[in-house]
């Protein structure tokens, strides 16, 4: 395991996977869009606005999944001092922020016709907005240090502190009276959604996950090259 914590070794495995992950992403998102827009039925209450669900819910899941990955990577990097963990955290943050933004915007667009409001300060919406701010705060903090290694370590601590927000987001609809509906998929009794809607939802989620992995690998390549450039320039400065 330690061998693959070295960024160079990691990319030697990740680079060959890139075309396959890209292919799966294109196929999954394509199939999900077809099923979601053309095949799945309108909801008996919500009509066609239910089709926003096929973007909103997977992006919400990704917003939390990416942050969870960042928290694990940060903990690993801080405990075992593996630079790859910090790199994964730094590379993941903009991706997570984008998914969170998509979740908030699409949620607003779904809320207006269904609830009659673009926004409400209920527990779920507020905690997801806080998640977005934590992403932005992490990106600002990690880039604020002249010593990039120190910046990564400091920002990783922020990620771990902010991880408390994930269970708050998940359980907010159960702990508080919220406008946002309770869980319909990840529940003890199983999904409450008909298969004709569940399939495009799950396929889109898979597509978004592989998209995250594709962009993560690309950003890691950029990050690794930038680190080597910094080291080369530091070496030249000392010479």
């Amino acid at each position: 395991m330690h061998k693959y914590a070295n960024p160079n070794h990691f990319l030697r495995i990740a680079n060959p996977l890139l075309p396959w992950l890209s292919g799966v992403t294109i196929v999954c998102i394509g199939v999900a869009l077809y099923l979601g827009l053309f095949v799945s039925p309108p909801d008996y209450q919500q009509g066609d606005t239910v089709r926003i669900m096929y973007i909103h819910v997977p992006s919400a899941w990704m917003a939390m999944f990416v942050y969870g990955s960042m928290a694990i990577a940060s903990a690993t990097a801080l405990i075992w001092r593996h630079p790859l963990g910090h790199m994964i955290t730094k590379a993941s943050a903009p991706i997570g922020a984008c998914f969170t933004m998509i979740c908030l915007v699409t949620g607003s667009l779904w809320g207006k016709p269904m609830w009659g409001t673009w926004w409400q300060w209920d527990a779920r919406m507020t905690s997801v907005l806080i998640l977005f701010f934590i992403y932005i705060g992490y990106i600002a903090l990690v880039n604020a240090f002249d010593d990039s290694a120190r910046g990564q370590r400091t920002a990783s601590v922020l990620v771990l502190v902010g991880a408390v927000n994930l269970p708050i987001i998940k359980f907010s609809v159960e702990w508080w009276n919220t406008l946002h509906q309770p869980a319909s998929v990840v529940r003890f009794d199983g999904p409450a959604i008909h298969p004709s809607m569940l399939w495009p939802l799950l396929i889109m989620s898979l597509g978004f996950t592989t998209f995250y992995l594709v962009v993560l690998i690309l950003r890691l390549r950029g990050e690794l090259a930038a680190t080597k450039i910094r080291n080369l320039r530091l070496g030249q400065a000392d010479a």
């Binding site: 066609d48 089709r51 926003i52 973007i55 699409t106 998209f211 690309l218 080597k228 320039r233 030249q236």
Partner: protein
């Protein structure tokens, strides 16, 4: 045919909410992908140039 397309785009009167949602997601994710690819390419090109310059300096008489 045109009627069918118009009906599809209208989405039961909710098209003005549904299509901006899909467009927002497409624009944001495509933009993220393009920026990430461009950044990786630029950094790798710069690294290659720096390494070549270093090798040149070492080999110079």
């Amino acid at each position: 045919m045109v009627d069918q397309i118009t009906e599809f785009l209208a989405m039961g009167g909710h098209g003005m909410f549904i299509w901006p949602a899909y467009i927002t997601a497409s624009v944001v994710l495509t933009g993220l992908l393009i920026v990430s690819i461009a950044n990786a390419r630029n950094q790798e090109r710069l690294l290659k140039q720096l390494r070549a310059a270093r090798r040149g300096a070492r080999n110079a008489p």
